[in-house]
């Protein structure tokens, strides 16, 4: 993360800080941000943190969710499936349908993400990917802009 991103995050409201994530709100830009801090997030911790984030989003009127996964090197696919199919649909009902994702720079990770998406589609053929506006960005600043 570069200085510009750190400066930006300092201005945001930090709402969660645990071993695995920091979560922020940028009400001016109607965005919530979640920054991974570990190379791997255990399934239970992931679900707990994201449920907390969803509870916060329920009380706010935000539109975008920025997920910085640059620290990740591995993910738990069943948890990713939950995140896509259940969690995204939940926050969609709160008005959040723009998802900006920042992936680690390694090409293999992007391949794993694509494989994971294909697996989610296979297991959930009725899941409407296109309902969510998903974009991949290079940095938090890029996502905010």
């Amino acid at each position: 993360m570069n200085i510009e991103e750190l400066n930006y995050l300092e201005k945001c409201e930090k709402v969660i800080e645990d071993d695995f994530f920091n979560a922020y709100l940028d009400k001016k830009n109607k965005a919530a941000l979640c920054v991974c801090k570990q190379s791997y997030i255990p399934a239970e911790d992931f679900i707990n943190s994201f449920n907390q984030i969803a509870d916060i989003l329920e009380k706010t009127r935000l539109e975008s969710f920025i997920f910085d996964k640059r620290a990740l090197r591995a993910f738990h696919q069943p948890t990713m499936e939950w995140y896509f199919v259940e969690w995204k649909n939940r926050i969609y009902n709160y008005g959040v349908n723009k998802h900006y994702k920042i992936l680690p720079p390694q090409d293999w990770f992007a391949d794993c993400v694509e494989a994971g998406k294909a697996s989610i589609l296979k297991n959930n053929p009725s899941f409407e990917f296109e309902k969510f506006n998903i974009k991949y960005c290079d940095s938090i600043i890029d996502a905010i802009e």
């Binding site: 801090k37 570990q38 190379s39 791997y40 255990p42 399934a43 620290a71 090197r73 591995a74 993910f75 738990h76 696919q77 293999w108 391949d111 794993c112 694509e114 494989a115 994971g116 294909a118 697996s119």
Partner: protein
Amino acid sequence: MVQLVDSSNNAEEQISAMENMLEMTTEYLNQTKNQLKKEKDKLEKIQSDLFKSLKFAAIIQEAIQPSEIDLRQKFSDVSIYSRPRDIIGGDFVWHFEKDDQTLIACIDCTGHGVPGAMLSMAAYFCLSQIAERIELNSNEYFLKAFNTEFYNYLHKNKASHEFSMEHGFDISLLRYDKSSSKIFFSGTNQQVLYLSNRVSKILKGDRTYVGNKQIDSIREIELNVRSGDIFYLFTDGIPDQFGGSRYKKIGRKRVLQFLTNLQNLNLSKQQEMIDVFLKTWQGNREQTDDMLLIGLKI
């Protein structure tokens, strides 16, 4: 900084997650690879079929045009250098004999590839039909009759507004009246090089197009010719070819100069030299347009 998860339970879950990721991604990449291979095979088959189809179309297009052998019965030497950009194209040679008149034309239809070739076929038959029907004693009258014939031919379907000819044809038409040893030249947007007794003359066509609803008047240049005179008719694909050290068009002037310098060679030798000249200029670059160059010796 990335922190490592150190709890043993978490480590076990992480290893299992990574193994799952590896397996899932390998399977996904293999499926993608297989899918790509199938698509590649499909595309290769389409390409191969298209290529065969174009090759056969080129044979048909070539078959209706006069050969050098046919034309050598009327001229002492003939060379036809034809190089369509996309196997088939819109440039073609047309030839017709009636009474004492020999008509020969170098024609460049708008476009190249399949549409160019289709237009050239339509134009070829319209030219021949008109030549059969009317008296061949005026180039202008002939080209105007062809213009009307062609326009009506391509506008039979009055309900269709899809087709509109933006430009039509560039033509160089030579009418050789053997009884009077005269050549009558008319052209649109083309130039013809005429060499007589080591003197070169450029015959310039009018700036108009054949193939539109309306057509301007077309001049006719009359020349008294004698044995050994040479005419070079060519389409704009030759001077418009990009290349050379500064990636420029060859240009009409350079083409005319090159042809003038070749006049002492027989036409088939000239054709070899022209081929080398054009390919050297082009280098590794793409061919810009269809090319046609006709050399005729009286």
